[in-house]
């Protein structure tokens, strides 16, 4: 354990809008708190940023040269194959080779997922790795997956997301008995589409605490710890949250200016409103872990500043310390067995047309 604890977090110094300055600064800040880091990128550029911190030489900060950078416009798969010395790929190679406990990048998120699959590989039995988003709920931090990597999903994928997310919530976040739900268009079992019905039937056969369907309005209540959906719907839900929050802040600001009394209130409350905007904005939450690959990797938002990077580095460290990767793979491997009987049930149910079923509310 002590040797493992000394392993650094690999940080892609070249990813994100504010790279390398904000990335290097965030990594240095994490190192100051005692988390060893290895910065990955073109060494001269990284050293130049490092030099801004006078105490850098005394901190657990290493630099690993990587000559190439993946751009936001690069095709993820091609970038991994053609730019062999790119900073994302080198981060994953450090993890794979046991020289880092995990990695984080604020770069091209498709390239990070591609790099994870390319270098670390999928865990045995996992069909599709997923990206987890932690939601800014009133209570707790529900996990939503997949948040966008897998646009077209079959039942086995969502069942695996549920089983992997459950292990992650339990082992990494310390939720004793995570409550798992499938995102649907209504709470009743008669709702949903062919995909959600097959997934729910399978999860009812599992040993996890499966609570059935939840709705869009349940994402932020904290009543569920793990919520699974396909990457298309997950992306729409996350961006709808973001857009609603933004409009809401604008409307409230307008309302607070609309009368003399409210105007005074607005002046006094402005700081509180700004803090709330940050809280609800999913892009501020920080790092999104990958699950289903053979190692620890996190994607952070392209807008990440030094604070976001420092927090992300901490979270990589915590995820690595939890040593949950193997258990995540073992859980995912149960999906096929859970689905076998469910497939028969889904076929039977499919005889009832979807439109009729949706009429029940």
């Amino acid at each position: 354990m002590s040797e493992e604890r000394a392993l650094p977090v690999a940080v892609d110094a070249m990813g994100g809008d504010h790279a390398p300055a904000a990335i290097v600064q965030g990594a240095v800040d994490a190192a100051r708190e005692g988390v060893p880091v290895v910065l990955v990128g073109p060494e001269p550029a990284v050293r130049e940023e490092l030099a801004r911190n006078r105490d850098a030489a005394n901190l657990p900060v290493a630099v690993r040269h990587a000559s190439e950078v993946v751009g936001m416009g690069d095709h993820p798969g091609q970038a991994m194959r053609r730019k062999k010395d790119n900073s994302i790929r080198v981060c994953f190679e450090l993890v794979k080779g046991g020289a880092a406990c995990g990695m984080v990048s604020a770069g091209n998120s498709g390239a990070v997922m591609a790099g994870a699959i390319f270098v670390l590989g999928r865990l045995p039995g996992v069909e599709r790795p997923a990206i987890i988003s932690e939601l800014p709920a009133l209570k707790g931090r529900p996990l939503l997956l997949d948040m966008g990597a897998n646009v077209e999903c079959r039942p086995v994928h969502l069942v695996q997301f549920a089983l992997m997310g459950e292990v992650y919530a339990r082992r990494v976040l310390g939720v004793e008995r995570p409550r798992v739900a499938v995102l649907s268009n209504g709470e009743e079992d008669s709702k949903g589409n062919d995909l959600t019905r097959a997934v729910a039937a399978a999860l009812r056969r599992s040993t996890i605490d499966f609570r059935g369907y939840c709705e869009g309005r349940d994402l932020l209540t904290g009543d569920f710890d793990v919520i699974v959906t396909d990457g298309f719907t997950g992306n729409v839900a996350l961006k709808t949250m973001e857009g609603t929050a933004r409009v809401f802040v604008d409307l409230i600001r307008g309302a607070l200016r609309s009368s003399a009394a409210a105007k005074l209130g607005g002046l006094l409350a402005r700081r509180a409103l700004t803090a709330m905007k940050k809280r609800i904005d999913w892009r501020e939450i920080g790092a999104a872990p990958l699950v289903g690959v053979a190692g620890v990797g996190f994607i952070t938002h392209g807008r990440s500043d030094a604070l976001a990077i420092r927090n992300a580095v901490r979270r990589v460290r915590a995820a690595a310390d939890a040593r949950a990767t193997e258990e995540i793979g073992a859980a995912a491997a149960c999906a096929e067995a859970l689905l076998a009987p469910a497939a028969v049930a889904a076929e039977t149910r499919a005889e009832e047309p979807s439109q009729t079923a949706s009429f029940k509310a």
Copy 2:
């Protein structure tokens, strides 16, 4: 035109949480403003509520007896077939027979859609009627369809939603050249799933002002006038908006209580906040029109109060005055022609795996 203008709006007196009291009151309020109404429900109960308004006898308010009521738990299709004298069905029969210009119900929304299809029928060429939701955007009132009636959709359905919604925005809401978009998981053409790609390809061949993909964060900006999606995703997006708004109000209230200065601000601004909550809550927006059926029908939220009903009655009247039904049907009938070449393109594109395509951002 003058004869048509005299036609009343049929109001289902028995639908919703506050029926019949709030429904009758809302209809009477609309009648006071000069919109003739016919209240449909068990006559004694309706007359009893009507009697609370001393001026009712002088208003353009009629009562049409209907002995049965569809419950929220009733199966929509069965209710329409078995309860032949239910208030929803009778409303649609008045529309069909030319005795009402349109109808509105706050009852079982599945039953309203089923009644519309059962009594009015689909317009020729329309595969699936849809429910339109008007979104509480910063500018304008974007239309989102389908908001829940059609959970499993094929490309032809979404193309028809786009064409029908475009006519509705233009003819009923007076938007000169509606900007139409398909809800997706990213703006780039490379995003989306098989369904959205086929739909976008078809709409690019149309004469409407098609703007390609939009994202969840664009729903409330007012940058698009008509946004189409399947009923599953539409439902998730609407309920995510609702849930986000609710959490946001709670968070802001908490923040406004968190310091002495903010507390004072909060007291002063409370009314403004409550007004904003109502504005963003999609359930407060009021009535959702059906499109694709041979007549005018609106669904209002089950929680509708008298004000919501009065507003809904006005909107039925406006939709009927626009006489757009025929044009909606004609527009929908073009969908197949637009899809024929698109189907070939979609097959070609399908050779590229979806996961890879999603990596581009």
